[in-house]
């Protein structure tokens, strides 16, 4: 069964079309890449799927049920959670309390504060933030902020994780560490991942399947090899070939 199905999704902002007739499906257990130039509508698509904006037209099905237009907290409690491209940690809380919040409120939420904290420690260990558990989130570096963003999302115990550019702005070493983390999330925690990414090497290395958005439309889908060899995709990324 499809874990996520997006059907003929449209989103307009005051007459400007951000998404036009976007449809795709994500199978359980996959890592799916979503690529496209700046302004292609990738983040808008995430926002519509996770409930931050209602779509103008179309449907989103998660585990077979219609979640179109539901609020973000309801969608999160069903097991679909997103991270934010511009990281949005709770700056004045400790790293631990940030993650504990996810445990206290997400899917299969643990209402006992102490138990939630124990679980949060386990997640911090998984993403490699254990030593900073008691630092205020605002004191972290960018790489650690991205880890925290992922940790907080993992704390909600998702089945489907939408990662919005978790690799952007990282150094090469940090990027390969983060790629390893995404792989572990998929393989060990058995969480299906949809990732928006500009780092093509990472997308090609990680994903089973890639979708390409261009000016709000899906112009290609397929395996990494198929997509990177698709002339339309190359054109969208590099511009039209000028015949001399």
């Amino acid at each position: 069964m499809n874990l996520l199905e997006v059907k003929r999704l449209h989103k307009t902002f005051g007459g400007v079309s951000a998404l036009t007739d976007v449809s795709f499906t994500v199978e359980k257990g996959e890592i799916v890449g979503l690529i496209g130039a700046n302004g292609a509508g990738k983040t808008t698509l995430f926002s519509v799927i996770s409930g931050s904006y209602p779509p103008s037209k179309g449907f989103v099905y998660f585990k077979g049920t219609d979640i179109t237009g539901k609020k973000p907290f309801e969608i999160c409690r069903r097991g679909l959670v997103r991270t934010f491209q511009v990281v949005r940690p709770f700056h004045n809380m400790t790293v631990l309390r940030n993650v504990t919040a996810g445990k206290l409120f997400g899917k299969d939420r643990i209402k006992d504060q102490r138990k939630a904290e124990e679980e949060a420690h386990r997640i911090l260990q998984f993403v490699g933030l254990s030593t900073k558990a008691y630092s205020p989130a605002r004191e972290l570096t960018l790489a650690d902020h991205k880890r925290l963003e992922v940790a907080r999302a993992l704390a909600t115990n998702p089945e489907l994780l939408l990662l919005d550019e978790v690799l952007a702005g990282l150094t090469p070493t940090e990027t390969s560490e983060a790629m390893k983390m995404v792989k572990e999330i998929n393989q060990h925690l058995r969480i299906t991942v949809v990732m928006v990414e500009h780092v093509i090497k990472a997308v090609v290395g990680l994903c089973d399947k890639i979708f390409v958005l261009h000016y709000g439309r899906k112009i290609a889908e397929g395996t990494p090899k198929e997509v990177t060899e698709n002339p339309e995709v190359i054109e969208a990324y590099l511009g039209e070939r000028i015949e001399a």
């Binding site: 931050s52 609020k71 949005r88 940690p89 004045n92 809380m93 989130a137």
Partner: protein, 307 residues
């Protein structure tokens, strides 16, 4: 500081406060009554405004409604019941208006709650003239000063206890998440609308009861005095002085300002307001988290983080 020392400290404070009427003169009892009233108001205010960051100027409205509830039911129903019902009706009123009110954020919410206070004030001014043909109400046969003192003490302890338990609960984590980033909080599964609404109602419950008791203490009330926005302003000044995110900070702020105003207000009314204004400006500039925050930073673990 361990949990046990804290508990012992609280027990001592409560014991001392309950002995005040037995030991002190009526004048001092009424000073303490005033102090407890402000503590109750500030502690209940931080439950919404300190924890979620939605700064409310609506405390005056709930205080006034509580006072009028008492004025209209006094001698018709028992005292304790009237106080409780005053609190409940204010919480109920907050639940009704909270739904539309809490949809706006930041300065718009502040203005809206200021409007609420003005609205209730003029509503009651008109009601008084239309229905009673008067400007205010006199409450006869008020309970003794000591009865009133103990009732304010109970309300004060309840408000402080509520602020404390909420802060350290799952509910509190939700409220602080809303303050930090409402959209991110929602993305994490927090029902932000419901949490704000609930804390608004809880926060309104206590000023309703305080208003009801204080109506009897003053024995004469009119809309201008009980719905005065000064109540809200003073609550905010106290909270910002002490610290809007801490039960201890709110307590500290209320105690400091009540004592200082008791000492200076009568003697230097004009300078007092000027100095107070200057202090508030300096505080917001240099210690935005209140006087208690640096104290907490020094003595407590995990100190660099708020929340």
């Amino acid at each position: 500081m361990g949990r046990k020392t804290n508990l012992a400290g609280v027990a001592c404070a409560v014991a001392l406060l309950s002995l005040v009427p037995a030991l002190a003169s009526d004048y001092h009892v009424s000073v303490f009554l005033d102090l407890l009233m402000w503590i109750a108001l500030v502690e209940s205010w931080i439950i919404l405004s300190g924890y979620t960051g939605y700064i409310s100027l609506g405390h005056s409205a709930f205080f006034g409604l509580g006072a009028y509830f008492m004025a209209m039911t006094w001698t018709k129903i028992p005292y304790v019941l009237a106080v409780l019902l005053a609190g409940c009706s204010c919480a109920g009123f907050a639940f009704i208006i909270g739904y539309p009110f809490l949809r706006v954020r930041g300065p718009y919410f502040v203005i809206l709650t200021l409007g609420l206070t003005e609205f209730t004030k003029f509503l009651f001014i008109n009601l008084e003239i239309k229905l009673g043909g008067t400007v205010g109400r006199i409450l006869m046969m008020a309970p003794s000063l000591h009865t009133l003192y103990y009732s304010v003490l109970v309300v004060c302890l309840a408000a402080t206890g509520a602020a404390y338990f909420i802060k350290n609960s799952r509910f509190g984590t939700g409220l602080f998440s809303i303050k930090e980033d409402e959209d991110a909080a929602s993305a994490l599964g927090i029902n932000t609308s419901f949490y704000k609404w609930l804390s608004f109602g809880i926060s309104a419950f206590f000023p309703g009861m305080v208003g009801a008791i204080l109506a009897l203490r003053r024995s004469y009330i009119d809309p201008y005095t009980v719905f005065s926005p000064i109540v809200s302003f003073q609550v905010i000044v106290m909270a910002f002085l002490g610290g809007i995110e801490d039960v201890e900070g709110a307590l500290l702020g209320a105690v400091m300002l009540t004592l200082v105003s008791e000492a200076l207000w009568a003697r230097y009314p004009y300078y007092y307001m000027i100095i107070l204004g200057a202090v508030v400006i300096l505080m917001v500039k240099f210690l935005p988290l209140g006087l208690f925050f640096p104290i907490r930073q020094r003595f407590f673990k995990e100190s660099r983080a708020r929340g």
